[in-house]
Symmetry: C2
Subunit: 255 residues, 2 copies
């Protein structure tokens, strides 16, 4: 081959290989330990359930996994593959809820109607969320995940955000003040708006956990300099027609 | 419970349930068929390999899965769970490369040093990429995925982008003109910059496949109205210190 593929040169200046060996070994071990919050870095747990939306857990996981010594663990009612709202993709839950007692950070993603309602009506999940929340440093959600937190009773009397199309449901069903913001902090609870807002929230959370310098470095590490080709992501600016189109695409893509 | 959880009201105006029943049944079937490009909508295949970065495949998958009648299939050398660069998370490859002959869209994600180099040196993967590319409508990459496309010989004489820290490697190793853009189209090949740039690229690709109105509706469907808390995602604006910090966080988070 004409191209050089030494470990060193694909990412410029990335590694002092020797110095990394110990770190890497420690990470490998940490990555497979049950998170208890007793490790060196933050134990981050993300709750999966049938019918979540793929970017909700994976965007924040990408960001938060870059925090120094962090572990990110996908958790579900049972171990194994958990399928998204479209039915196309599955992420592996490495731990069941019965195996995880403590977390520094709990993140509850959102999903389609079926997934969100399924989680809201699953008392085992709600009970586990309440239990982990009691000792968490941060309890967080993305998209309709805030509705699941509300169903668990965690948002009573609080300000929160959610997916734009679910705001009216959140406000009218629970004792919650909806704020149309990208993310909302209320004490140790942080809720994010829809799907992609989890990435913005995760950077904010990273700054709370490890400081602004680290959060800014993580933003560069994931090259998050957003330049969408269109400017149609804000429901407050969208026409009724585009909203209907968006909701139709969502509904039709879900199983 | 005090909250109503009928299927209809979590997402405002989402469903005319009866009308959806047929669509849903068709989707369920389509989601589990081997993609051949012969279906009603685009067959989108994403290549996973040990050590990819989580957001690279999952950001575009979230966007592209909302295209009408699309199927998104995770593909790897062998079926089963494929672990990310941090070792924390695994996504399931539903199909092996030997099972997939044709795709409308091929997407190759990036990874850490270990993952990228592993893929570059895996002749079975490169050969499959070349084979699928021959008949694809679009061949795409995120982050260092463009280096894998280059190793397969697909970028010879072309313009492309890649992860900011890998630009020099791409330019000096292959016959490629590097452009520091969020995404670069060269014929039917579209390369995206690092990690999160895959979301921007996927929206652009959605517009090429289904038109701007649909792409804009998808942007609203995933509420992609980015508002990161900091403005540090552009390597061209970053100090040497922040760059080093970012690369250190990446290296230390990887197994």
């Amino acid at each position: 081959m004409s191209h050089s593929t030494t470990r060193r040169n694909v990412l410029r200046g990335t590694v002092a290989t020797a110095a990394l060996a110990a770190t890497t070994a420690a990470r490998t071990e940490a990555a497979h330990a049950v998170p208890t919050g007793g490790g060196k870095g933050p134990a981050i747990g993300i709750l999966l359930y049938d019918g979540y939306s793929l970017l909700d857990p994976t965007g924040p996981a990408e960001v938060l996994s870059r925090l120094p010594d962090a572990t990110v663990t996908m958790i579900a009612e049972r171990r194994g593959a958990v399928r998204t709202d479209t039915g196309d993709v599955a992420v592996v839950a490495e731990r069941s809820i019965s195996e995880v007692d403590r977390l520094d950070v709990l993140l509850v993603p959102g999903g389609g109607n079926r997934g969100t309602i399924g989680a809201m009506n699953n008392e085992a999940l709600l009970s586990w969320i309440r239990h982990v929340h009691r000792h968490s440093r941060w309890t967080t959600s993305v998209c309709t995940g805030s509705i699941i937190l509300a169903a668990a009773g965690l948002l009573d009397g609080r300000q929160a955000t959610t997916y734009w199309a679910s705001a009216e449901y959140l406000r009218s069903t629970f004792d919650v003040t909806y704020l149309p913001q990208r993310y909302v902090r209320s004490g140790k609870i942080i809720t994010a708006a829809g799907v992609s807002a989890g990435v913005d929230m995760a950077l904010y959370l990273a700054s709370l956990i490890a400081g602004e310098d680290t959060a800014k470095a993580i933003q560069l590490a994931v090259e998050y300099d957003p330049q969408p080709p269109f400017d149609s992501g804000d429901a407050a600016q969208a026409s009724a027609q585009v909203k209907e189109h968006a909701l139709r695409l969502l509904a039709e893509s879900q199983v």
